[in-house]
Symmetry: C2
Subunit: 466 residues, 2 copies
């Protein structure tokens, strides 16, 4: 035992005792709980500051603010300032600016410092996990089963081809051109499938095209694409987990994903009236949001327990509760919670990304950069080519294709899961992030341009006809 | 090194790696990150379920729902069901129903199981800490400096006497009658000082008496009382921290509390217009709530860094941001976040309370029960006697006294801090909780009764005069 002077009230705010202390092996390295809280508070301040600073910069130059979270994370993370770092890849408390600052006000032993660093990193990680659960719940809430069905076959074809084409092109290309192994190649290919419904919907709304035919097809396809992307992520992540590609495994996962989604949606619709009347009968604070969180956390747990992803459960929870008459209230109430927790996820993703791998002046990076260029090309070509499947006439096909390009938050989820899994090489992970950044960067101005050109052409046609 | 089969993607959702692994001493006891998340999700479901079930029961029988959180915590905690337990007082993962359930689906080594238990408990603790920070921020938002000043001398006298009298009676009584040592006696005395503004305001609102003279004095005094209680808590907690009573220490703490509160309020008022225009200039999601959280977390950190309590910083942040024109928006947006996090705090407080100490059939408990009876008597007499200081005529004095009785959430904060500090004996801690429960139980029906009797008497007087 060391002689850490554990004061009687070293954790000043709410009931907790040094938590790492009980694992017998960790007895020598007790976390200082008041410093854990201080570390979490300082980390959150850094996260929010970075999120707002870079998010606002992005907003000013007409780029999606979620990019700002990512860039802000890169700046405060392991790549640049080392304010928000995690105990991985040889990083110790010495590398953490927050821990160094706290250590200057305290006097911890090396072991206790590492334990405190580990504990505050664990807390930030759980907050970031809750952030992505809330994000997918919110996406589920905003998605509508009715919409998925209404824009029917056209959106479905666009979505399916828009998932299959980039996935196939990316996976096969990586394996044949770059000799990447099957599992990482599949993972990277999967990261190419997503479409960011948030970014695309926002761009369409900004230029008043949300309810246009193109807008409706893009949104319908993006909603379906989101679901497909989540299934693909679940399937791929589970494949990575078992370490090999087994047809029975794929079948099991696809079937359990389908049963889980269809089952929860079916049960959800059945139980929704009871949920609504239960919520309405509650008299204490937060009846709706607490009931919704119970459903979300239970489905997240079940989804992860049956080898799918927790986020799939959160999405299903959002989808079924979004069907109830309480959707609007719920959407409203989930906003501040998402505002609080979602940036933690994206900033943490950025903070854990070592972008030095993209430095073109470093010869060792050239492979990563070539892969990035390939992924970007596939990401764009795959979605634009998909637009050729639009069979209805009078549609600005290019707009549909370009609208599907931004990978945004869903692509980042893949990058984050990939980074955590250890299945992706650093250069491949960085290449995926670069692909997400570039596609998310170029899509908004490009989509606006394509739609405006389309309008001009239409006007000219009408003039000539008249 | 053990041979824990760390799968490449054992943490399936967002970027994290086994966090406890880096502390060298803990290398043998790696937490399974996917199980940490599963444990957090299941714990949160248990917390929300207990909070709602018992909160609703309390609401039906006209008791404050916060009591339900506490009772729910007792039921799922170490006293009864062992669903939500913490690694303290010899509790190991074997005692945790959640960990046993998770272990049945996984196959962890003993060390890894304990580390996972410790990590998920740490995460729940940080969530509960954030809960009490958000709670005090919300109380600060709802408090108004203007009100404090407006109901001026009368409310101030009621508040000060209502803090000093129970504190002195309780501390002296415990030391002389029960031979309790000075520091725990002072701590218990301090726990007698608080008034729950939330409970009292709610009761007054329910019977339409919020804007009556009595109501205004009670609320004014309760607001002041809240601030005094927080200062008392900060002073007492810091006293406990240093282990002895030093006049210079009391002076330092009182002065730094005063400077901190006055300074932040002064600076806050000065900077509020800039805060408002900054928030209004932001274009990305959550401009108000994220900016407010940055202020709250920074002030919480500073308050704890200068030896005060983090919650004092959160209260100050609420008080100053509540002065800005954005108060209403902020109050609205903080509600779902408080709904999500505050119950975690109260349920955790209940879960950590071993109420078996209150079993009257156990001879060893008699001292605790006698102390509880004494504290309850002081808690009631102290506040009712305080009402004799009401010098304005035509006031229902008894109503003012009874309105100050419920200790509610502030008393529970004391109990929680006391439990965490280890300064209170189990019986004294249980006695404080019993006092908080009893005062919070009896005040609402009693206050209603007193006010209605007062009305009847007034009506009779008017009739007789006519």
């Amino acid at each position: 035992m060391t002689t850490i002077p554990l004061t009687p009230l070293d954790w000043p705010i709410s009931p907790v005792v040094p938590l790492l202390a009980t694992a017998t092996e960790a007895a020598e390295a007790e976390a200082d709980s008041s410093l854990v809280l201080a570390g979490v508070l300082l980390s959150l301040v850094a996260i929010y500051f970075a999120s707002k600073l870079f998010g606002e910069l992005c907003a000013r130059i007409n780029l999606p603010p979620v990019l700002g979270d990512l860039i802000g994370g890169v700046v405060i993370g392991v790549s640049v300032l080392n304010i928000l770092v995690f105990p991985e890849g040889g990083v110790t408390a010495d590398s953490s600016a927050v821990m160094n600052f706290l250590q200057s006000t305290a006097d911890l032993t090396a072991g206790s410092l590492e334990a405190t660093f580990a504990a505050q990193s664990e807390a930030i990680s759980v907050l970031s996990e809750l952030g992505v659960i809330i994000l997918l719940f919110e996406i589920g809430l905003e998605s509508e089963l009715e919409e998925l069905i209404k824009y029917g076959p056209q959106a479905a074809i666009v979505a399916v081809v828009g998932v299959v084409l980039p996935f196939a092109l990316g996976t096969v290309g990586l394996m044949s051109l770059f000799s990447v192994e099957a599992i990482p190649a599949i993972f990277a290919g999967a990261a190419l499938t997503a479409t960011s419904i948030g970014i695309t919907a926002k761009v369409l709304a900004e230029i008043g095209k949300l309810s246009s035919k193109e807008g409706q097809i893009i949104i319908g396809a993006a909603v379906l694409d989101d679901v497909l992307g989540i299934i693909v992520l679940a399937v791929v992540a589970s494949l990575v987990k078992t370490g090999e590609i087994e047809v029975t495994n794929i079948l099991y996962l696809t079937v359990s994903a389908a049963i889980f989604l269809v089952g929860t949606i079916f049960l959800g619709r059945l139980l929704n009236p009871y949920f609504v009347s239960l919520v309405k009968s509650l008299k204490t604070r937060g009846p709706l949001i607490i009931s919704a969180l119970i459903v979300t956390f239970i489905l997240s747990y079940i989804a992860s327990a049956i080898q799918l992803e927790g986020i799939l459960g959160a999405f299903a929870a959002g989808l079924i509760l979004g069907e109830s008459e309480l959707q609007r209230d719920l959407e409203e109430q989930v906003v501040p919670i998402a505002d609080m927790l979602v940036p933690v996820f994206f900033v943490v993703v950025g903070a854990r990304t070592d972008v030095s791998v993209l430095n073109p002046f470093e010869p060792a990076n050239q492979e990563g950069l070539i892969i990035a260029a390939f992924l970007i090309a596939v990401a764009i070509i795959g979605k634009v080519a998909t637009s050729l499947t639009v069979f209805q006439s009078g549609i600005n096909r290019l707009a549909v294709g370009v609208g599907m390009i931004p990978r945004g938050e869903v692509g980042l989820v893949f990058a984050g899961v990939g980074a955590a899994s250890g299945v992706l090489s650093e250069s491949l992970d960085a290449a995926i992030i670069a692909m997400v950044i570039v596609t998310t960067f170029i899509a908004p101005p490009w989509l606006r341009n394509v739609l405006e050109k389309g309008e001009a052409a239409e006007a000219t046609e009408k003039e000539e006809a008249a």
